[in-house]
Amino acid sequence: MPRKSLTALALLLATPACAEDTLNALVWCDHTDPTLIEPFEKAHNVKVNLKEFEGTAAGLAILDQSQPGDWDVMVIDSVDVHRAVEAGKLAELPADKLPTADFFPALVMATNNTVDGKTYAVTEKFGYNTISYDKTKVDPKDMEDMAALTSGKYDGKIGIYDYYLPVMGLLALGQGIKTADLNADTLPKLQDSLTALRKASKQVSDVVSSQTALATGDVDIVVGGGEWLTAVLAKDNPNLDWTIPKQGGLRWSQSIAEVAGTKKADLALEFIQYIVSPEGQAALAQSSCYWGMPANQKAGDLLSPEAKAVLRWDQQPDYIARSQLYPIPDAATDAKMQDMWTAMLNQ
């Protein structure tokens, strides 16, 4: 029996590869929604293999352990594109074949997506890391000031989003430090507020656990949250809200890029073009894992008024003006930030 089954196993594993063309994509969880991927698969008769990862370091580590050609496209924090390019992980994209003219101007992010005049990635989605809350359980006015979080009033009712860059960026804003000025010298100034925030909070958790905790009432506030956290839940729990406090908020943005060494450059480009097309953008904006603003303004025509309201489509100019990009730490600062974060988790 084992030999026969082994043959069956070998056949089974071999079939998908020969039957149709495949595209291997290293992505974040919002890309795993079938409503986003299936139209592309049908139109091009390909199978898109998706592998999720969290954080740029993990993504680059996966690429380090792979051979050229293993991966075709990847999703990456826009602010980390330079890091990936320096490591030689990304391939150049033909800038003239990307619809960046239709984008929100602030989201073209040429300084991030372009290195030495060559385009390596294109922004696909963005949003804010600020403060999400249940407006029936906290005073919305308090949420306009970050200091309220550690005032004692909300002890044990706060959840922290488990990603060090946005949360430490927010804390920097709370201290009056610009995210761009976050480095080895300014970092220690965050230690006290990080410790204080952790003391006031109940849990530190990933995207979905944060959503769950807010939806089930385990926490009333999520620091680092934003539309990406509350939009998915808006239908079930209209009491969830988010705001950018007076100290400001962080703007996240993710880019999509072609992985260096891909043997399917054409297909990879077509996939990227699909993702930044109005159709792809509308699906990505309302993906089941988390929502976010599409970078391409033309996606607006395909979004329902309700979806636009949830995403705060009309307030974008104001929000973009009041938010700063993620910190871009150098390797040493990054390691230090991660260590501070681990220490905070285990406080």
């Binding site: 993990a58 680059l60 530190v204 089930t216 260590d339 220490a343 285990n346």
Partner: protein
Amino acid sequence: MSIASAERKLGWGLLAPALLWTAAFFVVPFLAMLALSFAHMEGRAIVSGFDPGNYIRAFTDWSQLKALINSVEITVTVTVISVVLAWPLAAIIAWQVPARFQRLALLMAVLPFWTSYVVRSYSWLLVLGKNGVINKALMGIGVISEPLALASTRTATVIGFVHFFVMLLTLTIYANLIQLSPNYARAAQDLGASRWATFVHVILPLTLPGVITGAFVTFVLCIGDYITPQILGGNTELTLPQLIMLQMGRSGNFPMASALSVVLMGVVTVAYAACSRWLRLDRL
């Protein structure tokens, strides 16, 4: 060729597949990991060499050491609670339940074993949450007015673990109890021992091998588990496996993850040495 040497040849031949498999996919990987644990990171690059830095960090950096302490604390708590809860359960099934229902009673006691492992922790999340079944029920009957903070705590992790291991230990202790001849107890009582003395000095020691074996398995499985603390603990503290996954998954620091794994193995070895006297792993 003598019969003995032909036999020996055959013996080696039969052993070879298992030995080679274990060598190739267990011993070699472990050595590779051990070697990697002495490497270090320069930026994103792994630089191999003989650098004990990762181990020094594991024991001197509080955020790393704390994970080890948390893991040991949780594991010991879980093991003790599970044994204390499972022993009477096994005893009642072995001694009080009529013989022809015993198998059924035992099967029922371990039935939830067959829920999927990931799902099991998840369902405890639903039970223990702020709006979960327990809080709703207790508030419904007026025992508490404010929901208990059960989810995302160490208590939740411990409850999730104990649930699993009570089932496991009930099995191993039951297996041990059922082999005990009632004559021992009768003899002790005939010699004038009280019921309590019989229990403490005769029955308990006789079940020790089963208890210790079960407890050791509990210890090994519990201290190496990632899912239960990850789902139920809410990242309010880290256990060693969570830290290992963080070092690997988020930072891509394979050398540190390897070193922490070796430390984890060290702890298990210490536990093994502590109870090796009573262990009968090959008789599980």
